[in-house]
């Protein structure tokens, strides 16, 4: 038997100044199931709440309607109140007769009172249909997964580890370090990238709370916040990690030479290799695609030479499944492949290089030991052209966004070139200079004033070879004249783009990504490191182009968010989620298409029909993932998926009540 109590609040005169509260309370007495109805000055006050509690006891009320201010204001107050009186908090329903009534209709007293009565009638109709709901708790596994071992991933892992949480870093390359390890100097301070990165790499490797899983990839992510079950593929390294001493003899003697990924094709590496000398872990892997032993079954030199006997050709990929409470995605970026630019030679001209290749060319530990020479004939270039916005701000090439770091790194390159080659000329073709960072504009100023970089406002239309030069043709749009530079070397400031498989990873984890495959934050301003999937956070350039300071800052922010989650043994979940009526669900899967959280899945139901065991598919909701929007319920034709607390029945009851 439903016994409803109605409590009409005056809110001082805020409500009663316009609405005849006594009349409302009186009218409510006639509504179906209403056993008790009263008005009072301040319902939210201590005596007001006492009044409710007492009425519940005295009149055996089991549904409560409070007509007062907005539920966004005091719903929790009254929920707590009835809970203290021994009722389920979801038995409370509120009628907003202040913000939605008295305050907006001060000159329509009669109309406002009539409206308040309607609103209470609606609330009563709904309250009668409210079901008890329980907040449930989910245990939280105190272990974090960081995907990606670049600077963002390392920073996030260190912060979490220092806060006392165990962290696994999964990195698909043989070493952590990421793109920052390839960079020579960093703007705007020009300090050496390796000098500030490698200590952090060492810290991460040595930290008792951090486990490195290099040469590993994410295979599968199941579960939900606090309880992600992640399957990690540890690729066969062909090296026994616990035996290898990292002496490097194997790498010296390996007969196979292939382009080094780390040196971006500017140098060779062996088939057994570490990507770079300061790699962590500093133990090699065998590249099975190129290793003679794996290709032809012969060779085995590394195995023969290894003093520790660490080479193991029989190693297999291993799958490892672990449970994590939180995931930080820090998978970084890739560089735009400029070979789609026919007008820049489709990547055919050896002396047209990318900014990152330039970093290797000018790096003291790079293929030329830091001597700047052009790839084709090893000559020292005198006239160097840098072209900004290659692959960014270019809709025709599919990327409309500004890559955010190129203006600055081009200014850095220009300065570094002039540092190395005093009699060189550097021309930077730019469209707009974007230097919104601390000390950035000053850095750009120095590249012009101190280093004499020539800035030309215009996009280059064509590069073509003439003898041993590259003719670079552009317009100086400030002069309104076509200009040409006879360049020895052209550096393209290519854009940062999402990892080529970013979408696939996002689908595995269940997070969103934008048209450019960068991961989508939960809110661009107020939740910039969260994702729409609770417990998954973003750090670094996987969310959008970012420079090092921004990546590090975001990594620490993501770590702080993850700490907040991991520091509690369990979390409460909102019980307003959807549920499936398996009897009527036809398993058509339309709801799956609608859910933004991938909270719905199909499962197989086995049942007995006319004596026969049959199987059929029905939808099932993961309550840990469902956020209770209810969009799926509308898509369900048979009404087989419903949102608790906002069922069709409840909403229609309100509609009916409004018309009575």
């Amino acid at each position: 038997m439903k016994r409803v109590g109605v409590f009409v609040c005056h809110c001082g005169t805020n409500i009663s100044g316009t609405v005849d509260c006594a009349q409302v309370a009186e009218a409510a007495k006639d509504f179906p199931n209403v056993e008790y109805s009263i008005d009072y000055k301040y319902m939210c006050s201590e005596p007001g709440q006492e009044m409710i509690k007492k009425a519940i006891e005295e009149h055996k009320l089991n549904r409560i309607v409070v007509a007062s201010c907005s539920p966004r204001m005091h719903e929790p107050t009254f929920q707590n109140c009835v809970e203290r009186a021994g009722l389920n908090p979801y038995y409370v329903e509120m009628a907003n007769i202040r913000e939605h009534c008295s305050w907006v209709h001060p000159n329509e007293k009669e109309g406002a009172t009539e409206k308040a009565i309607d609103l209470v009638r609606m609330a009563v109709a709904k309250a009668v249909r409210n079901q008890p709901l329980q907040k449930t708790t989910i245990p939280v596994t105190d272990r974090a997964l960081v995907i990606g071992g670049g600077i963002a991933g390392i920073q996030a892992a260190l912060d979490l580890a220092n806060a006392g949480h165990v962290v696994d870093i999964v990195e698909r390359e043989p070493s952590i370090g990421g793109k920052m390890a390839q960079i020579d100097k960093t703007f705007p301070t020009l300090d050496c990238s390796a000098c500030i990165l490698t200590p952090k790499m060492v810290d991460a490797a040595a930290h008792p709370n951090i486990n490195l899983l290099t040469y590993s990839e994410i295979e599968k992510v199941d579960g939900f916040v606090g309880n992600f079950d992640v399957t990690i593929r540890q690729k066969a390294r062909s090296i026994k990690m616990d035996v290898c001493t990292g002496c490097g003899i194997c790498m010296e003697k390996c007969p196979v030479k292939v382009d080094s990924e780390f040196e971006l094709g500017l140098a060779k590496r062996r088939a057994i290799y570490t990507p770079f000398p300061q790699a962590i872990p500093n133990k090699p892997v065998i590249d099975r695609e190129h290793c003679t032993y794996f290709l032809r079954g012969k060779c085995g030199i590394c195995s023969k030479l290894c003093p520790a006997g660490a080479v193991d050709y029989t190693q297999q990929d291993e799958l490892l499944t672990r449970r994590y409470g939180a995931i930080i995605v820090a998978t970084g970026f890739e560089l735009f492949d400029y070979s789609v630019y026919g007008e820049y030679g489709y990547g055919k001209y050896p002396d047209v290089i990318t900014g990152l290749q330039f970093e290797r060319l000018i790096n003291a530990s790079g293929p030329t030991m830091g001597k700047l020479q052009r790839p084709s004939d090893k000559k020292e270039p005198k006239n160097i052209v840098i072209i900004n916005c290659v692959g960014s701000r270019d809709e025709a090439k599919g990327k409309s966004y500004c890559s955010r770091t190129c203006c600055m790194y081009s200014a850095k390159h220009a300065s570094l070139i002039r540092d190395k080659i005093k009699d060189s000329n550097v021309y930077v073709f730019y469209m707009d200079m974007r230097t919104p960072g601390k000390g950035y504009e000053e850095f750009y100023d120095r590249s012009r004033e101190q280093y004499g970089t020539q800035y030309i406002r215009g996009r280059v239309s064509k590069i073509y070879p003439l003898n041993d030069k590259l003719i670079v043709r552009g317009e100086d749009t400030l002069l309104s004249q076509p200009v040409e530079v006879e360049a020895d070397l052209v550096i393209l400031a290519t854009a940062m783009v999402a990892q080529p498989d970013a979408d696939k990873l996002a689908q595995k984890i269940g997070i969103g990504y934008d048209k450019d495959n960068f991961y989508t934050e939960a809110h661009p301003k107020l939740a910039p490191v969260e994702t729409h999937t609770q417990g998954v956070y973003l750090a670094g350039a996987c969310q959008g182009p970012k420079d090092i300071p921004d990546s590090v800052a975001q990594a620490s922010a993501a770590a702080a968010k993850a700490c907040g989650l991991l520091s509690k043994p369990e979390i409460l979940t909102e019980p307003i989620v959807t549920e499936v009526d398996e009897k009527t669900c036809a398993g058509c899967g339309t709801c799956l298409l609608i859910c933004p959280y991938k909270a719905i899945d199909l499962k197989t139901l086995t049942e007995r029909i006319a004596g026969e065991i049959v199987e059929r598919k029905v939808a099932t909701v993961n309550e840990g993932l469902c956020q209770g929007c209810g969009a799926c319920t509308v898509a369900c034709r048979s009404g087989s998926i419903y949102l608790k607390h906002y069922t069709d029945e409840q909403i229609l009851a309100e509609v009916n009540a409004l018309c009575l």
């Binding site: 026919g342 073509y464 003898n467």
Partner: protein
């Protein structure tokens, strides 16, 4: 394969050798060309620059006749091709435009008959092994700078080859034993597509760049697929040489002439003797190698 053939005005006059060589090689390659009866001028840039509808309607009549015969149209001239393609695209993109054009030309054109560049058609017809048997002479010794011009592969949305670095002509010539050079003026405008020659100094300096680039790339001839380019590159070459007191000596060929040569067709039947920059010495050179290099 059978195609409706649209030679266009140039091919019955300045570009006559293009017409001759096209018809000759088509015979050998088994391509049946049915000349569109009483075809009209495509309107060229004159119509294009005067009235949008006129520019679409003039080629539409030719396409309509071809459509009636159920044939796609083979078009040698890059300019005629560009105009006709524009019509085909416009009709297919908009029902309204289709209706308007049909009303203007007072014929039915549904956009089914496609405008196709001769280069593309020939390129397709030589695919497969059968062509090997047809080759009489390998064009060894030719170092061709393939000059596609600006209209053949633009706009990019409807182009049959890459607008910055097209390959179809290069591949075609490779098949017949010629070398082609990698150069970056393949699709730079020669200035002929429009009346820039009303200001000769403009045309001259554009042409000069093309000749220099071809020379620098090591080419000993230019090859084109457009009678307007041909006119400009061939006839004006001497003029440019005079103007800059230099000598390029780059014979200019239609790709069809070279294909014809390789197929063993007599040079005069291909119109090779009709060039301004004497092409015969180079042709002779190739022919003389015939003994040693016969396919």
């Amino acid at each position: 394969m059978k195609y409706a053939y649209y030679p266009g005005c140039s091919l019955s006059s300045t570009g006559i050798e293009y017409d001759m060589s096209t018809r000759e090689i088509a015979k050998v390659l088994g391509i049946e060309l049915w000349e569109i009866p009483e075809w009209n001028c495509c309107g060229a840039s004159s119509a294009h620059l005067t009235d949008h509808l006129l520019a679409l309607a003039l080629p539409a009549r030719n396409l309509a006749i071809a459509e009636e015969a159920g044939l796609d149209v083979a078009i040698p001239c890059a300019a005629c091709y560009a105009r006709s393609k524009a019509t085909e695209v416009a009709v297919n993109e908009s029902e309204e435009m289709k209706k308007t054009i049909q009303e203007v030309i007072e014929r039915k054109y549904e956009g089914k008959s496609k405008a196709r560049a001769l280069l593309e058609i020939i390129g397709e017809s030589v695919q497969g092994d059968h062509i090997k048997e047809r080759i009489h002479i390998l064009l060894t010794g030719l170092k061709a700078a393939c000059y596609y011009g600006c209209l053949l592969v633009r706009p990019a949305s409807t182009a049959f080859d890459d607008p910055e670095d097209p390959q179809s002509m290069d591949q075609l010539l490779h098949l017949f034993g010629a070398e082609t050079v990698d150069w970056s003026y393949k699709t730079e405008c020669c200035g002929a597509s429009h009346e820039t020659s009303a200001k000769p100094e403009i045309g001259i300096s554009i042409l000069q760049k093309i000749f220099i680039a071809a020379q620098n790339a090591g080419a000993n001839c230019l090859v084109t697929a457009c009678p307007l380019c041909m006119n400009n590159l061939d006839m004006r070459q001497i003029e440019v040489e005079k103007y800059f007191s230099t000598k390029y000596n780059l014979p200019v060929f239609y790709f069809t002439e070279l294909v014809g040569l390789a197929l063993g067709i007599e040079p005069s039947k291909l119109g090779l003797n009709k060039h301004f920059v004497d092409a015969m010495p180079l042709v002779q050179e190739v022919l003389n190698r015939k003994g040693g290099e016969q396919a």
